[in-house]
Symmetry: none
Subunit: 188 residues, 4 copies
């Protein structure tokens, strides 16, 4: 059901997608749809939740390579590839999550912060290991950056995909990032 809903939301947006369409796409009747959800908003919530679920699951292996630059790079590449594969999901989530009820929205934003924290930790490990040198205050910002940089690949496909392949994009982004980090980006 969630896959179908994502497809519809992507195509027509959350508001223009009817519950009947969601049900039909999922292959059952509205009646049955409403066995699973209580509100149309629930669908949106489930969609957002499942996206983070998958993201977290697919990034779960990342944090291991403690403190090495290769580890960082690998993590980032994995993240970029993930986004490339889940473009639609990301776009939907970022454009529609505002329609979530307040508490659901908070829950979702929290998940996003967890994702940022994931990279923040990796960076901090690298810092500890002496592999990078960034002002302490800049680490969280760098993590935010990194996360957004990746999402940019999804949001701005209309502007980017015509000029770059994912690999070009990743390489370029990484160079930027690592260059700033390895040296002493953000220091005296």
């Amino acid at each position: 059901m969630i896959r179908g809903a994502v497809a519809l939301f992507k195509q027509k947006g959350y508001h223009r997608t009817t519950t009947r369409e969601i049900a039909k796409e999922a292959g059952f009747s509205i009646g049955t749809l409403y066995e699973y959800i209580r509100t149309k908003e629930d669908v949106l919530y489930l969609v957002c939740d499942s996206i983070y679920e998958e993201v977290q699951q697919r990034l779960s292996g990342i944090a291991q390579q403690e403190g090495s630059l290769e580890g960082l790079e690998k993590a980032i590449r994995q993240y970029y590839e993930l986004i490339d594969e889940m473009q639609d999901e990301f776009v939907v989530m970022y454009q529609e999550s505002k329609s979530l009820p307040k508490d659901a929205l908070e829950y979702v934003l929290n998940k996003e912060l967890e994702m940022v924290a994931l990279f923040e930790n990796i960076l901090r490990d690298c810092q500890k290991a002496g592999e990078i040198h960034v002002k302490d205050e800049s680490i969280s910002l760098a993590a935010h950056h990194l996360v957004i940089q990746g999402q940019m690949w999804a949001f701005r496909r209309w502007g980017l995909h015509s000029h770059y392949t994912l690999d070009q994009f990743m390489d370029d982004q990484l160079q930027w990032l690592l260059h700033g980090i390895k040296g002493n980006g953000g220091t005296t």
Copy 2:
């Protein structure tokens, strides 16, 4: 009318805002509203258009300082300040523009590309002037970057404003950017 509509869209989103509300907020009747527009979508279009109008107007002075790093920095700071002041507008535009009819959307995306091009030109001028050294292919990407980096200040206020002031954010971003650019970001 547009100001009122932005306020409403920001608060309730485009779909949840009724034409009646837009009219009332603007201070005239629906009948009169429909003298100015043909469709609710028109309001959204007008909103998006007016935002870019203002952005372009306020960034118009930028391109002059040809090729100097200070010019670049000044342009960027001006852009960031602009975004800070127009946060709501930016958020609305990026979250709702997907609801525009196809051609209007294209028009709007084009405006966005023009904005990117603006910075691209500045960067290219700097490159020509020998102030920065970036791979040619990376310049457009850097411009994209730069534009998004700024928008991030609007989109992610929930995550950023609690940790950074605008000035901190700007300084940090600039250091990242200039560090990568001045050196030889993206080269061997």
Copy 3:
């Protein structure tokens, strides 16, 4: 609109009557119906209210003939005739008022109590004038009686109209009532 709604409610009951039917019967579109009401329950409320409105208006002249038995009789006859003419309305009101939201229901029950009070006052006047002799506690009960006795003509048409004309019914009821009242109904 109200007349139409009464007709429909009478025929199919409140729950089985759709808002569309109400609108159509009233001669306008649902959209327009919802200019006048906010909720289907509002229709029911309006129906109930208008019934009491009419009842009170039509009984307003009654209270004048202070204390005479003829006054009492006249009042009662007027009330019975009123009920005869508004049978449908009464039946609808008593069968459907339970579907009113709590506060509306209270409001309606209050109106009913006002009607009872109307007769209570007449009876009290007669008592004062020495025309009837009833235990004080019984007066309110007698008023309740009297009001219900009349409504019975509406509720139980299926049982009564085949055996009695309104006049027979009125005469009989009056004799019962007056007999009990004139003598010393409810005393030693």
Copy 4:
């Protein structure tokens, strides 16, 4: 099941009670509920029927004391007590029976007429025994009266229970009735 249904109908009304709720309250699944009934209306029918069943059962002993005034009084008191105990049931039945399909409604109204007839017979016996003196045409009316008077205790609890105890109410009603009957209520 019926008890449960009555409780639900009393609380929320027939239309607002779902078959699922009825099943759950009865302690089995909807599937099983539909083994016993064919239609939701059937539940209402069963409810109404069972009420009359109980009423008739509990009043069955009444008709014996032929022709005595005490017998009449006893019968009436028994009836009033019955109603007091079955208030909810009566209220439900009278407010919801209109939702029965035509033939079921007729059946139920017939049961009601049987109840009236029960008292009619008692009255007639008293008449024959010379204990009361009422115009022949008035006997059926008096029976209707008597039946309604009792139901009034259930329908109008909101207006009566705050002012009277059941005993006060019964006494008062009886005095009215007997006074009218014993003398020559309704004669020349």
